[in-house]
Assembly symmetry: C2
Amino acid sequence: MTVTERQKQILDFISLFQKHEGFPPSLREICKGIGLVSHGSLIKHIRSLESQGLIKGMPGKKRAWKLVDSQSTKIPSIPVLGRIAAGNPILAQEDKEEQLPINPSFFGSSDAFALRVKGDSMIEAHIQDGDLAIIRPQQEAENGAIVAVIVEGVEPEATLKIFRSNNETIELRPANEFYEPLIFRGNDRSKIKVLGKLVGVIRAKP
Amino acid sequence: MTVTERQKQILDFISLFQKHEGFPPSLREICKGIGLVSHGSLIKHIRSLESQGLIKGMPGKKRAWKLVDSQSTKIPSIPVLGRIAAGNPILAQEDKEEQLPINPSFFGSSDAFALRVKGDSMIEAHIQDGDLAIIRPQQEAENGAIVAVIVEGVEPEATLKIFRSNNETIELRPANEFYEPLIFRGNDRSKIKVLGKLVGVIRAKP
DNA sequence: TTGCAAGGAGACCATATGGTCTCTATAATA
DNA sequence: TATTATAGAGACCATATGGTCTCCTTGCAA
């Protein structure tokens, strides 16, 4: 079974109404909102949505609709990605990692995520051990930007590095003079997987 | 007019119900929840709460109660205090300063606030120009802690300093070897007003 | 064509629920 | 004591609203 256009429309309307009014709409209000005349017709869609688990109605109660698993219920948050599964980072929020109660839009991206910084390799950029690096997902990187990368075969986890490239090489440089930069030439360059760009840092003291 | 115990109870119940169920309770459900038999009695309290502007009902609509200005409506956030009014910092959220969409409980305090850092006086603590310092309000300070202070007659704005005191002196030291510490003796010590302790740092890159 | 399914319109029903009214009990006040 | 105010109980009403049923239209496939 699939969600039709009308049903998406209904979900959107309920979500919007709920957010705006503070309580769910009645069937007839939904009808008005999406341009239906008969609520008898609407109820078929509602039942379909219920059977798909996207909405929940309380039989016998009036104006009692609950959106299941929607933005209006969930508070936007930033997931902390602990371990990165080899090669393919787990970006899905499914795995119950830690969640920062911070609206990711604050960092300009609804799908930003966080990585916990280990060590002092970025200390000259004033990013210290234990800090949370906020990453905006993107594949490309500008020269000089701090990015989260996975380097194939080197470490299973993502690391922060300063990115710099030219026609021949890609250089990943720590912000710490005591650490050596990693330089990749030719085919080696494909070992680098850019997860995203650093857009923020959060430090919480105990 | 004042909010009685019963009325507080009603507000709490509505808020809890709303949060838990996703829609507001009916009058009879409120009755059950707070131990009333007749909803006729309840409605008097509801009307009183309405006249105080704490709740809003939609006449003619069923199960349509809206909590005005409550936690369930508002998303918890951290206020950014820009200017600090001479001596008495404006901690009230009333003035429409910037709000960080971050749950202050993340930093262990529901009334944490933020200050925007100016300059590099705390650079050795890896707090740089433009960072947001998250402050938990408190009057006292432990030795070695980073605190937000207002120094009477010196600056109209709050500044971050490392706090250290003994029987005779209070020392406010920047985390930057090129800056001089401020030392206060005797009565001068009362010129210092500690706003709170640094519990976090947030950096957002444009 | 015929048959079937989906989407919608419109009417009708049962009831959950807001609204109102009256009566009682208790406490405070004159 | 008498009076007033407040909180609550209980009954009754009007209606907004969920639920159901029938009929119509459209589109698609046999």
